[in-house]
């Protein structure tokens, strides 16, 4: 177990290092001059040269890379080319917003998928089970942003029940915050919920065929109670793995959904920064996203071992 953990951690660190080189490399070859984008169309050549020097863009690539990585290791994310401000604090702010979004989307997905998936499995020979399966199949095919656009038209524009976009921090106004979170969370969560429903359904179906369930039923338990008491923990193993993978999809989905709903999270920060060639911001945001994904995968591995004692012994 300990050996496994150490190995996983080393893989995580190596992945981070590779990711940092890749993102830095991509930014370095991206056409466009950050100094010029920051200064606009009227910039004089002298001012451009001075700004490039201020940004440190006139130094060799290796030096720029080491400078950036050295900063990250000491918790210094650098300064934005566009706003001139420290990147760290805004990164923390934006990260918080995106986490709310991803968390809420995940919650919606789980709230849909677990009951629907279990029901579809238990009743897989009946109409209700087939209907759930069919609906989830449909849901899988809908892209998150399209769900977002439709939700806005119906619930914000036509019915006026919730805001069409915008972000109110929970400390400012909890009610506005929750109202504003509903549509983005739904557009992220509905699609993922549909995907997850199918995994829950097949995991539960697998479990229902196991011997211990048959034994439990033989002792007189209803299928549902047998599942509740003996099956769910086993069904959870594959579902947790999928949830971990889905978190990655949710993070990517958040980039688009933040745009549709005008939410100041990491995704909108990233899109703006790419457009403005705010290279350090792009690099920092990508590294934060990569770290999040790697950490989640790491935790999933750990959780996997906790949920399934058999995996703990395998070396």
């Amino acid at each position: 177990m300990l050996f496994q953990l150490t190995r996983r951690l080393l893989i995580l660190l190596a992945s981070l290092a590779v990711a940092s080189v890749l993102v830095f490399g991509f930014m370095a070859v991206l056409p466009g001059d950050p100094a010029q984008v920051a200064l606009g169309v009227n910039a004089t050549p002298e001012l451009l040269a001075r700004t490039r020097h201020e940004f440190g863009l006139d130094r060799p690539l290796v030096v720029r890379y080491l400078d950036w990585i050295g900063g990250l290791l000491t918790g210094d994310f650098g300064r934005s080319y566009v706003t001139g401000e420290r990147i760290g604090p805004s990164l923390v702010d934006r990260y918080g917003v995106t986490l709310w979004l991803v968390g809420a989307g995940m919650l919606v997905a789980v709230l849909i998928a677990v009951p629907a998936g279990v029901l579809a499995a238990v009743r897989h020979r009946r109409i209700s089970g087939a209907v759930i399966s069919g609906l989830s199949q449909l849901g899988v095919a809908v892209p998150g942003f399209l769900a977002g656009i439709v939700l806005v038209q119906v619930f914000a524009v036509s019915l006026g029940l919730v805001p069409s976009g915008g972000w109110t921090p929970p400390v400012v106004d909890p009610v506005e915050f929750l109202l504003g979170l509903i549509l983005p969370a739904l557009s992220l969560g509905l699609v993922q919920g549909a995907v997850l429903t199918r995994y829950v359904r097949s995991a539960v179906l697998d479990v229902l065929r196991e011997d211990y369930i048959r034994t439990a039923r033989a002792k007189g338990l209803t299928p549902f109670r047998a599942l509740l008491r003996h099956g769910l923990r086993n069904a959870a193993v594959p579902v947790v793995t999928v949830l971990g993978l889905q978190l990655t999809t949710l993070l990517v989905g958040a980039v688009v959904v933040e745009r549709v709903f005008v939410i100041p999270g990491l995704g909108s920060l990233l899109l703006d920064a790419v457009g403005n060639r705010d290279l350090l911001v792009v690099q920092d945001v990508v590294m934060v996203l990569v770290l999040t994904v790697l950490l989640v995968n790491f935790l999933v591995d750990v959780l996997y071992a906790v949920l399934n004692p058999r995996l703990r012994q395998v070396g």
Partner: protein
């Protein structure tokens, strides 16, 4: 009157109460310091609202008094004597005097970094005659100087208020910034010590939307009260037919230009440029690109400039004439590179240009470039293009044709001479000279002015005082009011 309190049922109101208004924009300021950061977004939010200058530009393009009640100009047109309004204070309490005029005007040269600041190079010195009289002495006459003073370059600062311009602007205007949430909004609150009539709305929320559809949805769902500029023409009819809203349409200073690389063959030949101009059906293009809204102008002058003349008839759509001119220039089987920014209007206009030019035998390769980064580098700086399409938003940017190093590659000493003469002459001479510049550019087909972007503002019916034309640096909040009922 009887309608108060009737907005119940909607939970999605961003502007709470009748004294608040919220306005949606598409371009967000990176920070609040326009002395160091270029771009239209910062002055749009702050000028006239938070910062004021000695003079301002009204929506018809005329210079009006603001912090200067009046001014006189010497016989040789180099000495401006400004009589300042008394009793004006900055939002931090400091009084506004002629010392601040000297401080602010001189500061442009010493502390500003944006390149627009060169418009102040003509200032020789500023004299403080008395606390309410400032005298600005120019090294030569310049009409453009006073005009620039009506924009962001003329903003008045206090020596006690420039410590943190990026976050804490201090001006003499009716509003002050109380909150800036990056990626979301700027909140302005009425400045209690304001010298003029207090604004109708005590709180103004400037909300920023990256996505034009999200901006329209916000108005439709009661999230904002005004769309400062509708950028998606297909949504205008929907807003017009909705009885809750008013749609105001006027002009901007944004010329959408098909740029020719005048410095390079084959477009260095005036006959080729004229042929392309004859070949393009601009009315049909405007219908496709901006739903027929907008104005055909025919030169680099919007109708709000005093020297405007309608030159849109100079090159009527005439494919036969275009073919004849191309043949005369010996250009057959021509293929040109049309390198456009990847912005909706430019990409859509590029398709029409390609199809029109195809009809006269000119092949066009459209290359969309990432905007701003790649377009700025390759087209604007390196002049690596034959044709491009972009909106030139700045006012009086006709002067760029006097600069042979500008990306037009247009080098005409006569135009440069007329521009310089216009700057120094009397008002009548200026108008006459500028007209000749505009006509010369049209005769030379120095570019093809496809159309002038319309200013389309959509707002709730109760909002009054919105400017019809967008001519200056500012989105002026000072005239906003509220209809009764």
């Amino acid at each position: 009157m009887a309608g108060s309190g009737c907005s119940a049922g909607s939970t999605a109101t961003a502007s709470r109460g009748p004294d608040a208004i919220s306005i949606g924009f598409t371009a967000e300021p990176a920070n609040l310091d326009f002395t160091h950061t270029d771009g239209a977004a910062i002055p749009q939010a702050l000028l006239y609202n938070v910062y004021q200058g000695l003079v301002r530009l009204d929506q018809h393009g005329k210079i009006q008094p603001l912090l200067a009640e009046s001014w006189t100009l010497s016989q040789d047109r180099t000495v401006y004597d400004f009589h300042l309004r008394a009793g004006v204070r900055f939002s931090n309490g400091a009084p506004f005097t002629a010392e601040d005029v000297r401080f602010s005007v001189e500061r442009v040269r010493t502390d500003w970094t944006i390149s627009l600041k060169s418009a102040m190079d003509v200032v020789d010195h500023v004299e403080v005659v008395s606390p309410t009289r400032a005298r600005v002495v120019l090294s030569r006459p310049s009409n453009n100087w006073l005009f620039a003073m009506a924009g962001r370059l003329g903003a008045m600062f206090s020596p006690t208020g420039v410590a943190d311009l990026a976050n804490t602007p201090v001006g003499t205007g009716p509003y002050q910034v109380v909150q800036h949430t990056r990626g979301d909004s700027i909140v302005l609150a009425a400045n209690p010590g304001y010298w003029g009539p207090p604004p109708t709305y005590t709180t103004v929320v400037l909300k920023y939307f990256k996505d034009a559809t999200a901006l329209t949805n916000a108005l439709l769902s009661n999230g904002i009260d005004v769309i400062s500029a509708v950028t998606t023409p297909e949504q205008v009819p929907r807003l017009e037919h909705d009885t809750r809203f008013q749609v105001i349409q006027g002009t901007t200073t944004g010329e959408v230009v098909l740029a020719f690389n005048n410095a390079r063959p084959p477009l260095h030949d005036v006959r080729v440029r004229q042929a392309l101009t004859y070949a393009i059906d601009r009315r049909a293009l405007l219908d496709v690109v901006w739903a027929g809204r907008g104005t055909l102008i025919g030169s680099m002058v919007p109708p709000t400039d005093p020297w405007y003349e309608d030159l849109s008839g100079a090159y009527p759509h005439d494919p036969d004439r275009a073919r004849a001119l191309l043949a005369e220039a010996g250009q057959t089987g021509l293929t040109l590179r049309l390198r456009v920014p990847n912005l909706p209007y430019a990409v859509s206009a590029a398709q029409v240009v390609k199809s029109d030019l195809g009809r006269v035998g000119v092949g066009v390769d459209i290359e969309p470039l990432d905007f701003p980064a790649v377009w700025l580098k390759q087209v604007f700086t390196d002049h690596d293009y034959d044709l491009s399409i972009i909106q030139h938003v700045e006012n009086r940017d006709i002067t760029t044709f006097g600069n042979p190093r500008y990306y037009w590659g247009y080098d005409n000493p006569e135009v440069a001479r007329l521009l310089a003469e216009a700057d120094q002459g009397s008002e009548a001479e200026q108008v006459e000279d500028m007209r000749r510049v505009a006509r010369t550019l049209s005769d030379d087909a120095a570019a093809d002015w496809l159309f002038l972007l319309p200013n389309v503002v959509a707002a709730k019916k109760r909002v009054t005082g919105l400017a019809v034309n967008q001519v200056g640096d500012s989105f002026d909040l000072t005239a906003l009011g509220r209809a009764a009922g």
